[in-house]
Symmetry: C2
């Protein structure tokens, strides 16, 4: 039996846990370095004691950027088998984490199945499940009952939980004084806001934060402090309401760390490219270097159908500036629930963003991969290029659909292929371009 | 009859040409401001005297970021009708420019057709056409004959020509001393390199640069100084060879401006995110603020099949940092010639990158579009959202494929839609979440 409560407590007591050792191995870092980062809260290892199928991952400073996939059952999609198929596919496509956003139907059953299956981290947003869990209208749910949902999620093996503890009566005042175009676009944030408006009470997760910490501590759940006031449009980014909430999250981070509860901070949202790096800096400063988990940012509002691309741009910029964890966005964002194909496109876009940022951060593992690919490319070794491609199947299919006359090149440049011609020059041969 | 040679000459003589007036109108700027920017070379207006169907666009500082589409006939694709269909489609999808990279077959015929059809700017790379034009092997073509191709392109109405005048015997020495992974990946660059290696001569476009300027001046062709030594892998970015060439391009820019020939500078290539802004700065400084035209940059080498995304990331970062013109990249890059569908994906990705950068640059027209979209979103006005979407057809199709139980929301969040619930709160209604 382990004699520590959380990874952070163990780290502070200079214990290198099996989870830390595994993370160190995956990242190619000394285990002692990982331990120190966990002890100071710069890295989290979401690993619920009850999530037995987990192969642990770390998130935070000095580690590879991780990506999360959202799925789950809802009133408009209650097909558990389809969602479990998505789980399998997401893991196959190398998602690092799955958030179960189930909000309707057999949510407990689905969550149980997911946790049994998932070798990757599992996260939830307990408030999505509150109405269904208690079979009551939102405003009739008591503060204690809101904690009951979180406790049940923790007990069932969830590795990290999003809790919007920063929407307080005080930050709500800032929100009301801020001229926002799209108000609150965080689902969890809007639910808590509605609950607070309808009951007249303070946010229970803020008012009774210690109770939340006890739950997290018991199962070693990472607290992912949600940004209920994140901007939902380019116009609303970096406003007083958003930053006021972030200040509160920074204060709560310190309180969590005092109890050795691991913390991540969630971030925007919709945001112009030039505001992203300053926002990452702000989040890291105000929240004392806690790992930063971003949804997007989407760098424009006008491209529904392509928000995997708008968010790949924002995510890459954010992660290059220090964000640690990217939530995927699919082409279906703002339009409908994603299909399996949408999910694949979203995962690939998020992986590209994360990997491109890791290259920018100077991550050796990331740079080595690109080096290998470019070696294969310079040698016109197509089979090796396919093997090294982020999506080998698509790369192979694309090339096979269009055969060049010169088998060593591709139809893009054909006989004018610069790599082919430079190779000929290196080999002392003349380039042959004229029509034969 | 106009009494000036080029837009730049007119601008220097304080003449506001019809082209400047039209660009000013499109950009929402005073014509006098556009004139000044053209006079100092900070903006170019590619408008060949013989391109009669052109609706002129400007490229450069203070203007919206423009995007270019590549197409053309080659040995592996000689279907002129298909390429002309692409031209129509590219214009429909709001490409600002089309580069005809034809390298084989009836290139003169295709170019003529393209220029007749295209209301957008047309660019070419004359060296691609040299072997076919003269029906000779590359090394047998004389320096004068290389100019003949450029002169013919200019005469036919091409608005800008890529000329790799910076690959000189001196920069080649830098190249040979640089340990490159992927050598020269610019097609035009590798052809000139091969020509120089095989003939032992200096680059004629460098050696006899004045002759090139005469051609450009006669028809008012913008000289797009090509980056023959651009990096073809993350490893090769920002090396001595690349920067040595850029220094030469900066010197040539001054010489062109002295003759009132308009100039753009072409840029990388493959490049880590953190190197992009410094590279834009370097290009703008070394080349005296001439408009910067980038291909990519692709921010990783490992995602063939998704290079529209790797380049949307790089292009957005580059344009936000000051690049003015983005060359599109399609999912087929590195694998095969793009299909019509690939072209569409490439255009949408490039438009997103350009638009996101314009938002970051504070461009009023760009921000207004996002404002309108977010107004429609906050109001759950779906029809207006489709109309404002960058791709109305895809946005509409996605939503129609999946109908929500609550008609005002979408299946993504369903009854938990934050916009819907915030609207209810504003209207003094209670949110209704419990199952009915």
């Amino acid at each position: 039996m382990r004699d520590y409560t959380t990874q952070m407590e163990a780290a502070k007591r200079e214990i290198i846990t099996p989870q830390m050792a595994r993370v160190a191995e995956k990242e190619g870092l000394p285990a002692e370095q990982v331990r120190k980062l966990v002890a100071t809260g710069q890295v989290v290892i979401p690993a619920n004691k009850n999530h037995r199928s987990l192969d642990p991952q770390g998130i935070g400073r000095g580690l590879r950027t991780k990506i999360n996939v959202n799925l789950g059952i809802s009133r408009d999609c209650s097909d558990i088998d389809l969602e479990l198929e998505k789980v399998q596919k997401a893991i196959e496509l190398k998602a690092d984490s799955i958030m179960d956003l189930s909000s309707y139907g057999e949510t407990s059953f689905f969550r149980k199945k997911l946790i049994e299956l998932a070798s990757v981290m599992v996260g939830t947003v307990p408030i999505y499940d509150a109405v269904g869990f208690h079979m009551k209208e939102l405003s009739e749910i008591t503060a204690d009952e809101l904690f009951d949902v979180a406790a049940e999620h923790a007990r069932s093996g969830v590795d990290f939980m999003t809790i919007h503890a920063g929407i307080t009566r005080s930050t709500m005042e800032h929100f009301k004084r801020t001229e926002r175009q799209t108000g609150i676009v965080s689902r969890g944030g809007s639910l808590l806001y509605a609950w607070m408006e309808e009951t007249g009470k303070e946010n229970p997760f803020y008012e009774n934060f210690d109770k939340l910490l006890e739950i997290c501590k018991e199962y070693d759940v990472v607290l992912s402090l949600g940004d209920g006031l994140r901007p939902g449009s380019i116009h609303d980014a970096t406003d007083g309401a958003q930053i006021a909430e972030l200040i509160v999250l920074g204060e709560l981070t310190k309180r969590a760390w005092a109890e050795s509860v691991q913390v991540m901070i969630e971030g925007p949202g919709h945001m112009a490219i030039n505001e992203i790096a300053p926002n990452v800096l702000l989040a890291k400063k105000l929240c004392h270097g806690a790992p930063f988990y971003v949804l997007g940012p989407l760098v424009t509002d006008v491209a529904p159908g392509y928000d995997h691309i708008t968010s790949a741009i924002g995510g890459a910029v954010a992660a290059a500036a220090g964000a640690d964890f990217l939530c995927y966005v699919t082409p279906a964002e703002h339009l409908r629930l994603p299909t399996l194909e949408d999910m694949k496109e979203g995962i690939m876009a998020a992986r590209i963003a994360a990997h491109a940022a890791d290259i920018a951060k100077g991550c050796k593992q990331a740079r080595e991969w690109d080096w290998q690919m470019s070696e294969a490319r310079a040698e016109l070794d197509w089979e090796r290029q396919f093997q090294l491609a982020m999506d080998p199947e698509k790369a192979r299919r694309y090339r096979q659909e269009s055969s060049p006359q010169d088998a060593d090149s591709c139809t893009m440049c054909g006989h004018m292929c610069s790599l082919r011609n430079m190779k000929r020059i290196r080999e002392g041969k003349r380039v042959q371009l004229a029509c034969n």
